[in-house]
Amino acid sequence: MKPLKIAHMYPELMNLYGDCGNIAALVQRCRWREIPVEVTPVGVGDSLADDYDILFIGGGQDREQLLVRDDLMSHRQELVEMVAGGLVVLAVCGGYQLLGHEFLTHQGDLIDGLGLLDVTTVGGRKRLIGNVVARADWLPGRPVLIGFENHSGRTKVGPKAQPLAKVESGFGNNGSDATEGARNGHVFGTYLHGSLLPKNPWFADYLLEAALKRRRGDDFRLEPLDDALEKAARASVERRIHSLHRRRWLPELLKR
């Protein structure tokens, strides 16, 4: 069987908050099901011409984002075609911003994006930092995404994309409209680190299943795995968030 092919974009430059954990989750969850899988690191100047199934791009600092921007833009047409052919894309934080139309940093640099997602980002002064709980209410069972956000960009989702999830706790895209991330077909962007996929195994499986359906037909279903440990981790984070909220009101009151 031909292995599932994952392109890991700029692993050296765009890996700020343990984003490589997302690759670990995709790979291990294939291996545990004995699905052959292959990861290719794609650096600046490397070719993208391969039949990739999943493309991942993580977060980077503003400086690194400027460095990869030109390279990413040189692949623009190719990427548009690959996405039309069913490529599954996951982009986190800085990578998410680059998938959008543009990103105006708080230093005033305008970074053009790929335009694969109808989102635009403007840098803010205060960073939005903390644990996030957000609900993907467009999916059956309305599953919850848990992660940690740390970004200065404020992202707005335009009419040609939908939010990935509705924020229940945290800031999300911009701290004002209770949306988190964006999606359009099989292209997903999010601010959530954590790492995202090990902490949200259902989303890892959603991406894998979407990619494998293209090869094996719409009826393809992944076998379930034992996710007891991941579930325990999610439950402990949710409890932690609630206890932090309870403890926060007193210092907040004293600040006034």
């Binding site: 700020l16 490589c20 690194e64 903390g130 644990n131 740390n150 680190h193 902490k199 440990l229 984070v237």
Partner: protein, 472 residues
């Protein structure tokens, strides 16, 4: 000293006494917090009384160890030391340490007194102007508590802002092997003293590497030697930014779990050092301390005996014996520290008993994403493997995805329970390696104190301060 400063001092001391009497803590920061409120210039007023001047030490990793090595060197030189020992490294802690020194009469005019201040990276810019350090030491800039500073570049920028406050006569002591640190010396008007390693790379590389591109032009840096993470011998082929030749170096390294031998090479000559702690990162800490000492006019003899006599700081490879079992505490604060702890476990072969304790309180960093930047795939053979802390389950998930069989890992979020069951599972005569984040370390230390009679955190610190006061 004017009346305002005197009132601030008296009120601060009183606050410390009340805090101690009420068992609210050792008062290592509170007296400073009170005094700074009453006299905003108190750090400057007290620091100018240090006749051998203040030395400032900052880094993301190893500040406390470097400062303690330097304190040991200063004691060997028969200097009296004012020192914010064991981690009170914000402005309050610096002020409190100066106040404690003042109270003990260390700053009286005729004494040979030096000030050693480890300072938090974000606080450097707030205290440098007042402290006026004659030696400004930067050990390294790794990923650390990114939830607080945002980005690694921001950490470097905050330290550079501190350098802007420095007097032109000061000396910058910089790690040549860390491109981000070495770059700080390029445009500085002060004189620079670089330290670094002159030995073949260790071959081992941790997961996270933060400075991969030239900070001047953005092209990839080429490494001819890489010691760990982004530390090594690098050069930019494009703009010519290159590792400055270090004046203080270590050669002939011999590593073991109990000690590290090397030849210290300095402008004042060469000498053999037997450092009583393991791991390459401690060689960097020793080089930083040695270079800062030499820049402060301390003799090479004192540098060597100070390093040889060094006692590890609280939780930094500290060994505590409990019921015939040796507990080795290895504080892990960020990916590089964790990677280095894992490397240290590989210095000697055989399975290790390990307890990893991950908390996500403010002092630890509230984001645990960094666990995914750690090369846990390199953990090696284990006996007991337990995880604990507020984020025990996150750590367990990390181990699962690193390929560690789920059944071999014990998860117990309660630190006391986890420590006791790990200790009872470890056979007598063997070792338990405990890798905690900062607040987990404090908590575990309290439990160890109960079972082994280890002195409390702040009283241990008081004992250190007392010893320094005696200048024995």
């Amino acid at each position: 000293m004017n009346l305002k400063t005197k009132v601030a001092l008296a009120t601060g001391y009183l606050g410390g006494r009340v805090s101690r009497a009420l068992h609210l803590g050792g008062g290592t920061s509170l007296p400073g917090a009170i005094a700074l409120r009453l006299d905003a210039d108190i750090i400057g007023r007290l620091a100018e009384r240090l006749d051998r001047g203040p030395v400032l030490i900052t880094a993301t990793n190893g500040k406390t160890t470097t400062a303690n090595m330097l304190a040991s060197i200063c004691r060997a030189e028969q200097l009296k030391v004012v020192h914010n020992a064991a981690g009170a490294n914000l402005a309050f802690g610096v002020a409190a340490a100066l106040m404690a020194g003042e109270k003990q009469g260390l700053t009286a005019d005729t004494d040979e007194t030096i000030g050693l201040f480890e300072v938090d990276e974000a606080t450097v810019k707030n205290v440098t102007g007042q402290l006026k350090p004659q030696v400004f030491t930067v050990g390294n800039i790794f990923r650390d508590q990114l939830d607080r500073f945002g980005e690694v570049d921001e950490t470097a920028r905050l330290i550079a802002q501190g350098i802007d406050f420095l007097d032109d006569r000061a000396t910058l002591v910089l790690n040549a092997d860390d491109p981000r640190v070495a770059a700080l010396g390029r445009e500085a008007s002060q004189s620079t003293l670089y330290f670094g390693l002159e030995t073949a790379g260790t071959g081992a590389q941790g997961g996270a590497q933060d400075s991969k591109d030239c900070l001047i032009c953005g092209e990839p840096l080429v490494y001819s030697e890489r010691y760990f993470s982004h530390l090594g011998k690098y050069a930019c082929q494009n703009c010519g930014f290159t590792r400055p030749p270090p004046a203080v170096t270590a050669i002939n390294l011999k590593l073991s779990l109990s000690e590290t031998k090397f030849t210290l090479v300095t402008p004042s000559g060469e000498a053999e050092v037997v450092l009583p702690v393991p791991a390459l990162y401690n060689v960097y800490n020793a080089l930083a301390a040695a270079a800062a000492a030499l820049a402060s006019g301390i003799s090479l003899n004192s540098v060597v005996s100070g390093l040889n006599d060094f006692t590890p700081a609280f939780g930094r490879f500290e060994t505590i014996t409990v019921a015939d079992r040796r507990v080795r505490l290895m504080l892990i604060k960020n990916p590089t520290g964790f990677d280095q702890a894992i490397e240290a476990l590989h210095i000697e072969t055989g399975p290790k008993n390990i307890l990893i304790a991950i908390n996500d309180n403010l002092a630890d960093g509230t984001d645990v994403s960094w666990l995914w930047d750690v090369g846990l795939e390199r953990l090696g053979p284990t006996g007991i493997l337990a995880v604990s802390g507020t984020r025990a389950y996150d750590m367990a998930v990390r181990l699962k995805y690193a390929g560690v069989a789920e059944a071999t890992v014990t998860v117990e979020p309660d630190l006391g329970v986890a420590l006791e069951s790990a200790l009872s599972a470890v056979p007598p005569g063997s070792e338990l390696f405990v890798l905690p984040t900062y607040t987990a370390l404090l908590d575990l230390r309290r439990h160890l104190e109960k079972v082994a009679g280890v002195s409390a955190f702040w009283s241990a610190r008081e004992a250190t301060a007392g010893r320094e006061g005696g200048a024995s």
